[in-house]
């Protein structure tokens, strides 16, 4: 019975002391401790979320970089293709021009050859004419060395004229 009979003295001291301790600890220990814990938890949480955000941003940046790189690559390919096309076109036109020029030159050469040929033929003709006249003259001269023959010829001419 002794054990389960609370004594007034201890009840008094326990109540007073406990209330004082509760007050002191609440004000000077629990409050700052709980605040510090909460603050630290918030700051850790913030840091974590910031890290997460940074990670996402990094990923975004990386993706963008890759996109830019791909675009740049495409651009390069396009430029290279265009350049090669332009080069090809240039070569093609040059070749065409050269062909044309060649053809023209050939045509010109052909023409001048033709002209030359014609001139040469004319000359040959003239030469032949002169030669034939000369030959005819010489023949005639030889033929007409006797007066009989001259007369005969004259007679022929006269016949011919009269006939005309």
């Amino acid at each position: 019975m002794e054990l389960v009979t609370p004594g007034i003295g201890l009840i008094f001291w326990q109540t007073v002391t406990f209330i004082i301790v509760l007050f002191l600890l609440s004000k000077f220990a629990w409050k700052p401790i709980m605040n510090a814990l909460n603050e630290r938890e918030t700051s850790i949480e913030n840091a974590l979320s910031a890290a997460e955000k940074a990670k996402l941003e990094m990923q975004g940046l990386k993706a963008e970089n890759e996109k830019l790189l791909a675009e740049a690559r495409m651009e390069r390919d396009k430029i290279l293709k265009e350049a090669s096309d332009a080069g090809n076109a240039l070569v093609e036109t040059a070749r065409q021009k050269a062909n044309e020029e060649g053809a023209r030159m050939i045509a010109q050469a052909r023409e001048s050859i033709e002209n030359e040929k014609r001139a040469a033929i004319t000359e040959v003709k003239n030469m032949a004419a002169v030669l034939s006249v000369d030959i005819a003259e010489r023949i005639l001269r030889k033929e007409l060395s006797n007066p009989q023959a001259q007369q005969e010829l004259a007679k022929d001419y006269i016949n011919e004229v009269t006939l005309n």
Partner: protein
């Protein structure tokens, strides 16, 4: 740490033996155990090392303060002093012949007994420890805890997250100071009670009575509308049952803290009794050969008691939090009695 425990055990053993030897004559284990568990006006650390504590009496409104050493003569026999006498651990008015007077009314004993002195020591320890911790939080703002701070931080966080948040809900913050204080108060005192020469403070019904009353008062004063409506008009119960239900519910309010009071008192006192009984076996059998067995069991019990010291602090705090949770809970639907008394 290990060394400290060994030292503790050896002290406990020695002090128990010394105590028994000092009493002389026939060994009465019951008396020895009661003497160890009960409160006292002196603090007996070891044979010959006794601290006489002040006696404070309010006799018919007049305060009287004197040292308890006045009750003992040079042979350590109990003698009456100034019209008062010490008998069976209590102070009574003495008559002229040194016998207990018939009239004992309005004699209030506010002495600084062994338990009160132990209470002051534990409270000083609590204040020093937690002010130091609060200081290190102020110094190392936002930084990782270190030293003693890192030992207590997980415990504080456990009380906050697993006890307060889990059982009280969103309004938990209001109750944190009380929950932390009772937890550490009970734990520290349980451990101090296990120290050699320590007082059995948390195994004293007056202390557990005060703690349980605090929980009761906080519960009653934080009870919201739905808490009281559950008591005076329990939903789902026919009105004609009210004459039975209301007294039952009102008794229920009291039985919860009553169980807190008895549970802590009985657990701690029982632990002390078991350890002391095991040591008493040596003297009962009057054989040194019983000692190894006795000591082995006592060591086992001591470890168990170290665990019980923490467990009881946890249970007291947990159940208090549950009662607060029941008082502030908003009951949305009928018949939601989520908070029973989890008996341990």
């Amino acid at each position: 740490m290990k060394k400290l425990f060994i030292l503790l055990f050896s002290f406990l053993t020695i002090s128990a033996q010394v105590e028994a030897a000092a009493e002389g004559g026939e060994f009465k284990p019951g008396d020895m155990i009661t003497h160890h568990i009960a409160d006292d006006y002196t603090w007996h650390f070891a044979d010959g090392v006794t601290l006489y504590l002040p006696v404070i009496l309010i006799d018919n409104g007049t305060p009287k303060v004197f040292s308890s050493s006045n009750f003992y003569d040079e042979n350590h026999a109990v003698v009456p002093y100034d019209g008062y006498m010490l008998s069976h651990g209590h102070i009574y008015r003495a008559d002229a012949s040194g016998q207990q007077a018939a009239d004992q009314s309005s004699l209030l004993d506010f002495s600084i007994t062994k338990n009160v002195a132990s209470l002051f020591i534990s409270v000083a320890l609590l204040l020093v420890v937690f002010f130091t911790i609060a200081g290190s939080y102020a110094k190392g703002k936002g930084r990782a805890p270190k030293g003693i701070q890192s030992f207590f931080e997980p415990i504080i966080i456990f009380i906050r997250d697993e006890i307060a948040k889990a059982n009280i809900g969103p309004k938990y913050e209001r109750y944190m100071p009380y929950l932390l204080t009772i937890f550490f108060f009970i734990w520290f005192n349980n451990l101090l009670g296990l120290m050699p020469g320590g007082a059995n403070l948390t195994g004293n019904i007056a202390v557990t009575l005060v703690l349980a009353t605090m929980t009761l008062l906080i519960t009653v004063f934080s009870g919201n509308k739905s808490y009281w409506s559950h008591i005076f008009a329990t939903p789902g119960v026919p009105t004609w049952l009210a004459p039975i239900m209301i007294p039952v519910e009102l008794i229920g309010i009291l039985t919860k803290p009553f169980s807190l009071m008895v549970r802590l008192f009985a657990n701690i006192t029982a632990g002390h009794i078991i350890i002391l009984s095991l040591f008493s076996l040596i003297f009962i059998f009057e054989s040194i050969f019983v000692a190894p067995l006795s000591v082995a069991f006592a060591i086992f019990m001591f470890f168990l008691e170290l665990f019980v010291a923490l467990l009881q602090a946890y249970i007291f705090t947990l159940l208090s939090a549950m009662y607060f949770g029941g008082a502030v809970e908003e009951h949305d639907h009928v018949g939601d009695h989520g908070h029973g008394d989890g008996a341990h």
